[in-house]
Amino acid sequence: MPNTPTETPATASDAHGAGTLRTLLRLMPWVRPALSRIILGMVVALLAGLVSLAIPLILQNLVDGPLSTRDGAQIWPAAILVLVLGVLEACLIAARRFLVLTPGTQVEAAMRNSFYAKLQDLPVSFHDRWQSGQLLSRAMSDLNLVRRWLSFGVVLLIVNIVTIAVGFVVLFFWSWVLGLIFLVCSVPLWIYGYVFEQRYSLVARRSQDQQGDLATAVEESVHGIRVLKAFGRGRYSLDKFTRQAEELRGTEIEKAQAVAGIWLWLLLVPDVAFALCLLAGVWLASSGSLTVGQLFAFFATATVLRFPIESIGFLLSMTFDARTAVDRLFEVFDEPDGIQDPESPVTIADPRGRLIFADVHFRYQDSPAQYPDLLDGVDLELEPGETMALVGLTGSGKTTLTALVTRLYDVTGGAIRLDGVDIRDLTRQDLRRHIAMAFEDATLFSASVRDNVLLGRPELAGGGTEADEVLREALEIAQADFVAELPDGAETRVGEEGLSLSGGQRQRLALARAIAARPAVLVLDDPLSALDVDTEARVEAGLRRVLATTTALIVAHRPSTVTLADRVALLENGRVTAVGRHSELLASNDHYRYVISSLDDDKNEIRVNA
């Protein structure tokens, strides 16, 4: 698993070899629409830099001209010229911001949408591996960083480097001796800049990963709040969280030390250069090879250059941060999407619901080699309209088998066919329209009950009598009469994950959702586990009506659920070892009896009667 962030300390240094520039260039597809404005912004920013460098030129003329000749009349034009240039600089900077900032946010938004789309497209196996906290920190802070870098970092970095280069030329123009001193003094800066890159980008990467881990810890503490409270483990999880937070703190301080290192040089170099230039300048001026005006202008120019020089450190670290962010984003973007639509999809015009498993094999990618396939040659046929119960021990692969039917995972061998068509030849949209699922842990989205139930019928999203009818019927079949008692009935928003509903209520809504989808094939993963006996009996009665005409595969743990089915398939050691009617299997199959029957209640009876 090369992409699991928590266990790849090596990635940072490996990827480092790829080069910051090349990594950042990968942003191109999103940046391209904004590129012209960003480049224009750079040009404008550069002009602003040049204008600020031009001001010392006027100062030199002023000092060597009117001020040395004591000609007060000439001061006005010079001051006005400085004023004009100053206003021009402000206007150019305003223009730069105007040009660059909006496209920056657009690039960020486009990337965020692509990132989200990619994640929605990636198969479930990817999401099994990745904690959503790690994904979240990429979608939020990494993308924010990219935006800031694009609309600010890269523009100023390039412009300031060019400004510094031009500034040096100007310095040489005033006096080559002073310019040379300034240049030589700045050599350690460039060397340290290189060292800094090495040191900083490693720490930056580690910091971002640790932030992702911390986000995961936060998420789990919130989602697992009931468990933590039930066991009074608030303290324990706080300690664990604190350890992680401490690690992050250590990394952040290391980062600060790297930054402090470059700050030292960034501040030291100009000051030392200024001091040496002052010495040399005064000496040159005393020997007459430099006018006071030139000396004046030299320092004015060097002062203009101070900010660009100081900003380089900040901009460089921002660039490395952005590069790390891009690396992290592309870990997701580069993830191969194993489950895709076929190139020339087949459509089933009128699905009848004949579902065939032919020698289906499945193993999880990370399953060690010595283990046999979890599903090791499943053969099973469901006739149109037939209801098949799937029975097997916990962990025998029942849920996995149901997940294969809608291609949440792909089979690793064999095939599943719907009406004779390999499900891999259908588009995922089509397939999932024909086959609807209800999961055991019923996921509800933060939306109204209506929207949750009609999730599989986007065409009914607008409402109308048909929508009302479908909703009413589905709720009725699933015995979700509690909906009427909710504050706003079917329009009540159920919280994210349906937190405010009980497990049984959520299960019934999830069941109603699958029913409302009116699929050709219904796949239900232990859909009644959280219901009480009464409700269960009523739901079953309703379900029978639906199942009379719909092909269904139902994972069952209880005999009562099994009785819904026409036939039962027994899953054992990765294969279907027996198919038949409940009563037949009960009579003939030991393993089946072991799995499904609680009728060895004799000793319980004794206790009850005692």
């Binding site: 699991t4 100062l59 000092v63 001020l67 004591r70 007060g72 001061i75 010079a78 004023l83 900032l101 657009q106 960020e108 938004a109 965020r112 949408n113 497209d121 994904l135 979240l136 939020m140 609309s151 986000a215 936060v218 998420e219 503490s221 919130v222 697992g224 009931r226 039930a230 066991f231 009074g232 706080l238 969280f241 952040e252 301080i253 600060a256 040089w265 501040l267 000051d271 002052l278 010495l279 001026a285 005393s286 004046f296 004015a300 283990y371 916990t394 849920t399 999932r432 996921t443 999730l455 986007p458 232990d526 959280a530 006996v533 009996a537 209880r558 029957s597 609680s598 209640d601 009850v608």
Partner: protein, 602 residues
């Protein structure tokens, strides 16, 4: 009108009083975070004051060099003054740089200390807040508070405050230097402060609302994102991708727009500053130039004045850069302080009563409970559970069974009346004793990232491996755990999708087994188990529950087999109460339920 806690946090407009109370609240929070670090802060401020002063000395030294050093060298051929001045410059420069570099590390240490304190506080507080809060405040928002909002605070601390302090000092020292060097120029600069103040006020007012809006959108973004990723199976199965992409796209656009508006303000503010700065430079040049001509000012001093004026506005730019991090951090702090202000509905006792050894007798006396005023779940509930008794709680959905369990585990407190353990009101019992004595296992068996063993050990963090294994064996989880690739060390996260719902329940059972409480509450804790596993668990329970109090809520009446007593609940009242055999033999509700269940087994 004021807002308390997380109330109204989705808004971006507040009345004046609300704004003030929210701001005060976040300032108080910031103050309380910085107070323990006073010493370090003072030291850091000292370092930065000296280093800034040293940095500001530069132009004055250049002026001295030109006005004193140059004439001395030219006229008296005396190199001493210039050498002294240059040495002073070198020393100032080197010390200044070293100190600032030192300060960078210092300030990082301070900001990280504040941050870790804040992280821990929010984390601890959200753990302390009662379920009532968690059930109404979506988890995505709580995650947003602890991730992106804290990130904004980090940015402020890392960059903002340093920039601000340095900036203010820098400007202050330059003002002092100007007054000393040439009061007239200082006067010109003072005039420049007037538009500066107006511009800053304008920016401050506008950006506050704008940045609040960005926080609202970013929280929505996080909520939608987390929900999609945690529910990815349902998203795929019901083809919600396109609709999600649309919804997400709308929020992204809203966020983008809010961001763009906030940044646009900045795009006026920043050039505005430069404009003021450059106009001032021109004015200083004009005033200074005339005075050089009239002999009132030296050339070198003019240079210094011009350099100072130009540099005076440099940090302003930097401060403005960081003003936006201040704004977003302020908005974030407002929300964080809101969460911290929330009072847990279930409060830890001020004078906790210890209970070292619990017998497990639980009493409900005149308990009334309503989730919201008017929605009564338990009207007037009384129940005595003697120590060691195993109770099966039966009744239709919504009868109040889970509420009863939650009251017993003190997830909620009764609206009236009391729940006691061994005669001690749960509200005054020490939390550590309460949690040790009473453990609840629910249907949602949440697994945390980490190994299988670590997840079981949650029941008793200091458990040895043998104890963990014994617990797993007792509930029949041992065989499947051994079959995992790394056995007990298998990372559940890597295989999160693969530990089946039933197996998760077994693990959470093992947790409870390991915790070894005096009172065990099982709320639908066996719902996802297959029958053989359930049978194993039941066997385990028979030994486990022999000497302990237990309340079992289960739809499958097989549980009744191990119960000493059955309670049938209806509309928050107990309608039947008796030994299982008696009730089955009778003609009441339970007899019917039991008969129906027996039938369902075939």
């Amino acid at each position: 009108m004021t807002v308390t806690g997380v109330e109204g946090e989705e808004r971006s407009e507040y009345t004046r009083e609300e704004s003030r109370s929210i701001r005060d609240r976040s300032l108080r929070l910031l103050g309380s975070l910085l107070r323990p670090l006073r010493g370090r802060v003072a030291y850091a401020v000292g370092v930065i004051v000296i280093s800034t002063a040293l940095q500001v000395a530069g132009p004055t030294l250049i002026a001295l060099g030109i006005d004193q050093g140059l004439p001395a060298l030219m006229k008296q051929h005396d190199g001493m003054p210039i050498l002294l001045i240059v040495s002073a410059y070198l020393i100032a420069g080197i010390f200044g740089a070293v100190l600032i570099s030192h300060f960078t590390v210092l300030s990082a240490r301070i900001s990280q200390a504040v941050l870790i304190d804040l992280r821990k506080r929010v984390f601890r507080h959200s753990q302390r807040l009662s379920l009532e809060f968690h059930e109404s405040y979506t988890s995505g928002r709580l995650i947003a508070r602890q991730t992106s909002d804290l990130e904004s605070v980090r940015e402020l601390l890392d960059e903002g405050i340093t920039g601000l302090v340095r900036g203010i000092l820098y400007m202050g020292f330059i003002a002092v230097a100007l007054v000393l060097l040439d009061p007239w120029s200082a006067l010109v600069l003072a005039f420049a402060l007037i538009p500066l103040v107006f511009l800053t006020r304008w920016f401050q007012k506008r950006s506050q609302t704008r940045f609040r809006a960005t926080r609202v959108f970013s929280a929505r973004l996080i909520v939608q994102f987390v929900e999609t990723m945690t529910g990815i199976r349902a998203v795929k199965a019901f083809r919600k991708e396109a609709r999600n992409a649309k919804e997400f796209g709308d929020i992204v656009e809203g966020y983008r727009d809010a961001n763009a508006q906030a940044i646009r303000l900045f795009g006026i503010f920043d050039p505005g500053l430069i404009l003021i700065g450059n106009v001032t430079v021109a004015a200083v040049l004009l005033v200074g130039g005339f005075r050089v001509v009239s002999g009132g000012l030296e050339i070198g001093a003019l240079l210094a004045v011009v350099l100072y004026t130009r540099r005076f506005f440099d940090p302003m730019e930097e401060m403005a850069q960081f003003y936006n991090s201040y704004q977003s951090a302020a908005a974030a702090l407002e929300k964080i302080s809101g969460v911290l202000e929330e009072e847990p509905g279930v409060v830890d006792p001020t004078h906790p009563v210890d209970l070292w050894q619990s017998n497990g007798a639980v009493d409900f006396t005149d308990v009334r409970f309503e989730y919201q005023p008017g929605r009564v779940i338990l009207p007037d509930f009384g129940l005595h559970i003697p120590a060691g008794q195993t109770i099966a709680l039966v009744g239709s959905t919504g009868a109040g069974k889970s509420t009863l369990a939650k009251l017993m585990a003190r997830f909620y407190d009764p609206t009236a009346g009391s729940v006691t353990l061994d005669g001690i009101d749960l509200r005054s019992l020490h939390p550590k004793d309460l949690r040790r004595a009473i453990v609840m296992v629910t249907q949602e068996a949440y697994l945390f990232s980490g190994s299988v063993a670590e997840n079981i050990a949650l029941g008793k963090p200091d458990a040895s491996f043998e104890e963990i294994q014994r617990a797993a064996r007792a509930v029949g989880a041992d065989p499947f755990i051994r079959a995992l690739p790394d056995g007990y060390d298998t990372d559940v996260n890597k295989r999160g999708g693969r530990v089946s719902a039933g197996q998760r329940q077994l693990l959470s059972f093992a947790r409870a087994f390991l915790a070894d409480p005096a009172v065990l509450i099982l709320d639908e804790a066996t719902a996802s188990l297959d029958i053989p596993s359930e049978r194993l668990v039941q066997e385990g329970l028979t030994t486990l529950l022999a000497d302990r109090t237990a309340v079992i809520i289960a739809h499958r009446l097989s549980t009744v087999a191990i119960a000493d007593r059955v309670l049938v609940m209806e509309h928050g009242c107990i309608v039947e109460d008796g030994a299982p055999a008696d009730l089955i033999a009778g003609t009441g509700r339970f007899a019917k339920l039991h008969a129906a269940w027996r039938e369902s087994l075939v």
